[in-house]
Symmetry: D3
């Protein structure tokens, strides 16, 4: 029995609330149980210097945690004067994951800045961030279409993410913080709506895991992401994104 | 007629929602119209080195804005590697304002860290932060009482804040962003529940203001803060804080 | 009786010595008793990027304390790698105060950098800085007129500053360090030559102050600033600045 | 045909040269073809503050590239004043990988600092770093045994790493830089001597990859790491490490 | 003829004004012509961690230039967030030079912090700093003797510094800024009162210099430093320092 | 007898191995005994902003030590976030030394970046760096000639460096670390192939040294540098550099 009482293949209650932020071109408040992340997508009509005149756009991401999103207060990165290695690792992952489903030349020479700010943390903040950011990104592109700056969405498919882990030998889906901190192994999967693998990050916390164990985690992830992408489609409403 | 259509002495709709954050010892989501600030109070049983063995406690504050809380995206301070002068000025103001109504020796050698994070900005973020933080601070002390670490709240009174300004020559209460950016003068008042002045910061934006104008702003502030402290008392419920 | 032995409405001996610095376009060594600040004004024919092609100039200020200007040595900010919140707050105040009496479009697209460096500190460094900087700024503009780059000074009036406080219940003018560190309340006033309010910053150190107390401080400030602006006029000699 | 002319399952020439560094307690110059990394292991008899009195030791890693290890010069991180996100990601990976095969309580309250400095880069610097660092770590523990500070090596097994990728649809082993920069997908595997999975990091560069493709990469990695761990055993000579 | 009109072996007018700073335990305003440096010596009863329990004291130095001490304004190092290589080089030189004439064990486990702040620069700021700091240091030790914390000064001799250079082939003493910026070679000499060499730093600016040229510069320096140490003795008055 | 057993005027075994680095336009691994420094020269076709349109080129240098190049591990400067004063002092010295033998206008508006990275340290890293960098620089210019971008080398002569010191009163050449750490005085000489002085840096470690002692050190240096420049000529092979 996992600490949360959930079945091994059961997600936490997930909600995706688009339009949470009044100013952002796209936004989504995503909740995976007690993990709440505000994802915003901001359009910047300029690309970074190294991309100018390439005819391509860019999607980049930043990630932060409110100091008291965590069980005990975490130092504010702005006050410490630098972002931790963990923060940088996560924001690089979010950016890569989203770019995997965007046709960069089709978006024109502009940049979308994704901001994922964790209001409350209970495990899985990076997977919630990716899942919610895709929704925010969708609406930023919708805005560009509405303004006549794009004729179609450069999004080529859905992308969502979930963590899986070995809990006392059993593969379980969508670890919350108490589960994550005691899992024997922990893997984050970023998959497309059609089940393609975009990113896999598996880490043995306690002892190495075997190939069959890893395959079992991947199977769980595919099931969970099937559900997450269904919720994403509900969140964006009728739209140009095809079902998987 | 002010841009917001409000009467000169009319606050924006204000709400104070305690307990917004699951992990913090005290928290309050404060809204002054479209300005939304999440205030948390975190108890730290250690004081900073320079206060050890003084027998006194400390209340300190940090302030931040989510990058897309603003009309156009603002750079993330954690990514830029330092907090702006404005941020530091505001967090020092919040800390001083709260300490003015706390009996520091009575709270014991511990520190309360206040975090004010702006989820959405539309003017008056510093005054909303002070007003909401007082509520978060109240609940953090309640927690210490409940845990038997304090026998009574060291809070000696209420404190709240509001901005006032001159709009086309007319003194107006609680400026929102469009009003603030065009006001001829702008002053922030931090007053106690009994009308005592804790902090005054007045700045002539366009041309100097006269003494009578300044007095008129102070009168408006007293009215507004009377209403804000009433809402604070509603938010904390029946408690040891006396009405003014 | 205040610690300094001065009457409640008595300034410390004040001197303003223009031309202290050989290289600066304008300079003034200002002394408020044992508080000595070297103020320089440097002309930069370029404005910051965000002001280019606006047809306006800019006046900005930086502030620093020599490590041993203080009673005990203070860490050097250049060695610590960042300016404190206090430093930033003060230099923003100095800049705003001076800009309030400069016609920015009239000064052309150039910038004046004011540097206020405290050689010796005994309270009131920010008010001395503002008072002395106005003199330095005056001479920088005189230089531009002499060089034919301006036809008239873009200064629209005088600006000076003084602190006031409550000393054992009595309002007193121009606090020195021993007074400041024990005052019950402390306010800095920045006024124009004609008595207009440019900046007010009042802080209750010990307990909140009342509105009548605050008005009494403002009255003292007006008296003190009348004297300071008289000394400024003496320091600049016969010039285009009208008496108030 | 891959650019390097190697068979799909063929490693580059690999060499592991222990004792390259005169001062370090353990060291190894590892070469994967033209990728050369100097790995050193330094014993520090103190652990970081948060580990004191836990009875456990720690292994941590830092990573850097010489500015001209790369095809075109890369800015020196010490001059830029911070380590990139990529650097931090890699050094965290190296540390986790090594700790997976160390019995931390058995090593006593001391820390081993691994430094991986890339003298020349041609792809696969992180996998070479992990493979070489294990050898350096081995010798640092040997030194502690020789000095009588440990009675047996706390190393519980071997760990090595290799990258695999999809080159024009074909799974290939041990990507060099030209292959890596054009691969359709790229995965780094960190495995133990007995084939257990310690870390997996897969990234689709161009388009998502399928589960069978991912399994094929894992199979290649197992083969490559079998060879790398054989070379590690040769490098350390007769020792307490059992063959897999 | 050198630009300054001085004879080749002629110092600029030099003055040493002790006690310039009200708060510092020792201070001296040193002027070498238009180069003005405020030197202060601050006693710190604690030594840095790495010196604790060594029974020895330490003398360290920091150096800074006011932004407008220079002909055109120099960026403030505190604002730029770091000290330049030049600044660090100079402050290390000042510290080493002073320690060469201090019996560190005799001064007890305390530290003297020397601060050299350039109020006005016209070449030779580092040599003026060393010369003036020795006077400031003297008075800090006098203070410790007066307070009964030391029975005798731990200063073992005098130290002073001067620059020399080749001006159109002629060796000249004590370069001012116009001379320094066009000199063919430039050397700073730090000598004791008895002519011993403490530091030599020679740099060919334009073309290498010969051994005889270098010896000629050293001869000039000895003459100049003879005069500087005479002025130091006048500045400190009758004291325990023997004439050379 | 010096600790190394060498004769007073004997260099350590010196080797200069050009072409050590595969990617750099010029490179040299230099060994002075157990001091090993990798020197690379990288061509950058852009000059820094302040040199644009001057028609001149620039040679600059950076220096670093691998964390475990030293007897005990030194913190990584990239991790500490800044370069030490010592590092900056050394890299400025290397740059000045090389520029002394380069005709900057003749090299065209481009920059050569020298990187000196210490793989193993045993005293004299800065002198080895200068000596080896000259070889790396030579080959970078050869590359420009080969590519038709220059018609002749802008190098006007050789430059090399060596340290000398007083060991128990005896002048000795080329100090290794045990000698350096106990020498009574220590001087670094940078001389041209024809014996001209480019840089001299002498520091009395223990007690001041006399003029004759200093001259003796210079004589030793001339002898040592004669040998070093001979080895440089061997390393570059037949070339346009004339023998001294």
């Amino acid at each position: 029995m996992r600490p949360s009482g959930r079945a091994p293949d059961q997600l936490r209650p997930v909600s995706l609330e688009p339009g949470f932020s009044r100013h952002a071109e796209g936004s989504c408040l995503v909740k995976f149980g007690d993990t709440h992340v505000l994802c915003t997508a901001s359009i910047d009509e300029r690309v970074p210097p190294w991309m100018r005149n390439t005819g391509k756009g860019w999607v980049t991401a930043e990630y932060g945690m409110l100091p008291r999103s965590t069980h005990t207060r975490t130092d504010r990165e702005a006050a410490r004067g630098k972002q931790s290695g963990r923060t940088q690792e996560i924001q690089r992952l979010i950016g890569r994951s989203l770019r995997a489903v965007v046709d960069l030349p089709a978006m024109g020479e502009r940049q979308i800045n994704i901001d994922c700010d964790v209001l409350q943390a209970d495990g899985g903040t990076r997977t919630a961030s990716i899942t919610g950011s895709w929704v925010a990104l969708h609406f930023a592109f919708e805005r560009l279409i509405k303004e006549g700056k794009l004729s179609a969405s450069p999004i080529t498919g859905q992308v969502a993410a979930v963590s899986c882990g070995l809990w006392e030998g059993t593969p379980v889906l969508d670890l919350d913080y108490p589960e994550d901190s005691k899992a024997q192994a922990d893997a984050n999967f970023v998959l497309t709506g059609s089940g393609g693998i975009v990113e896999v990050q598996g880490t043995a916390e306690d002892k190495p895991f075997s190939e069959p164990e890893f395959i079992a985690l991947l199977e769980l992830a595919k099931k969970g992401i099937g559900e997450l992408t269904r919720l994403q489609r509900l969140a964006i409403g009728p739209s140009s994104i095809k079902s998987p």
